[in-house]
Amino acid sequence: MSGNPTIELENIKKIYPMGTSGVTALAGIDLTVETGEMVAIMGSSGSGKSTLLNLLGCLDRPTTGNYRLTGENVSAMTKTQLAAIRNREIGFVFQGFNLLGKMTALHNVELPLIYTGAGKSEMARRAAEALGWVGLTRFSHHLPNQLSGGQQQRVAIARALVNNPTLILADEPTGALDSRTSLEIMAVIQRLHRERGITIVIVTHEPEIAGYCQRLIRLKDGCIISDQPVNRPGDALADLARYPAAGEVNSL
């Protein structure tokens, strides 16, 4: 891998066509995220967090400005090229898990591999490996509704990492989970970062979650108003060990 930063944004603007003037969701963002960084994005509702994450995830294109992903200018790419980039370079983790309800955990994890053109046996092998990595081998053949929220989110993480992406984007990954399960998920994400060296960007409104990242970016009205390193980032696994055992079962 070259020395290119994972993310380079240059004066990114996103204006949604609406009425006569349009809605400015991002008003000129400059941002560089080095490979292997773990970044939190915070901001009040409507500040442009999701819009930014969608652009970073190549789900959308900026109105103006340049976006280079590991040195490649993706703002000039076609939809089909963007789909390939998403497939190869990016993993998504959503607040609502977004698992396909009629498919087993294993098949959910296989989903990105369908579009890489991998063979059947290779798909199964790599999906099983990813599920194993998040500790859910036992649940390979369970349907999402047979899994707890935390387990479902871990399946979603396995799906995000199955293609060995350079970047994983998480929009409020713990938003639907209780605090203990949130810790578990943050522990998995920290492992992802530490053991696999994947660059991670998390959108959250919880300061505790941001506290497990290395760098915190605050947005307001589509602008970055602060960009600082996190003082002594927490270790979710260690915090989990200290967590009161009372909440272990049946906590919502």
Partner: protein, 404 residues
Amino acid sequence: MISNNLQVAFNGLKASKMRAALTMLGIIIGVAAVIMMIAIGQGAQAQISRQITGMGANLLVVFPGAGTGAVRGAGGNVNTLTWEDGLAVAELDQVTRVAPELSTNATLSFANQTWTTQVIGTTPEMTLLKDWPPATGLFFTPDDVQTSAPVAVLGQTAADNLFPPGQDPVGAQIRINKLAFTVVGVLTPKGAALSGQDQDNIVYIPVTTAQKRLLGVKYVRLLNVQATSPESMAFVQTSIENLLHERHRLGAQAANDFTVRNMTSLLEMAESTTAIMTLLLASVAAVSLLVGGIGIMNIMLVSVTERTKEIGLRMAVGATERHIRNQFLTEALVLCLTGGILGIGLGYGGAKIISALAGWPTAVSLGSVLLATGFSAGIGIFFGYYPAKKAAALDPITALRFEN
């Protein structure tokens, strides 16, 4: 990628089995209807073709009387035609053979069995003209005709009804209207005509025997004339008209007291009418297939809306527009083709049942099967395309946000 597509499509369909089955039902019924209608139509056509060849190729029939409407003895004098006319016609150019017919209903008896059937006086030319040889024994000979011999050739039905099983009719003495006849042959079974009439319920005797012994007349009821080729039929028809006009000593201005009909062209007309009927029936059936196709489109549209979030997710993990479009197209195609194959089975079974129950001949042809398969695949692509295109055009962000 194709096997992946199929896998994804099957999973999608499995997820809503009941709905997939009901949607398929439209296609199943449509295809079955097409197959059955074509089978019935083509069966009828095949039967008519069989009748044409069974009746004799390149056949002209000369009837007495100037009738223009009904086929048999339509008005006027019915005794203007003689066997001698037939012998003269046989001498004409491009005529292969002539067989007269003089028919009457008569009661046959053997031992204490009786059976009423149609007895036709004719000549040995008849067996050649109809390409209808005896199964056992022989047809009577020209000598038998010369001598007005009391000999008879039985159709299978007549033979079956007169003789106990196991007894060979050939050589037996029977009575026709009390007169003694010797059975010289039994014809090969021919089966039912399209009209349902049993063609084997018949007895042939020499024409002279019928004239002198049975009916006491000098005329014949009609002359079957076989021409050498289809092309020569018009020429032969004119020759017959000229010859008989002269033989019957009709004045130059007088109308013919006989009618020559081209039977082959009559039946060919019937055949093409049936072909049109088949087309009509199949078109009506095709409309039901079309309705089935619209059902497919409807369900696919519902499915796309319901699975908006899934589509968004697939796009997020790397599906291109083409992937999504092909996924839904494959689903529609799988629905239609599966329905098509089941429909072919159902149509085939239905055709068999109809022919068994109604005695109506049916023929399921490879052509109609291919047509139905192609048609249902076409419907899958045609009616699946719009929903698939709609799915592919979704914006991943909006789709991911979709809540149902």
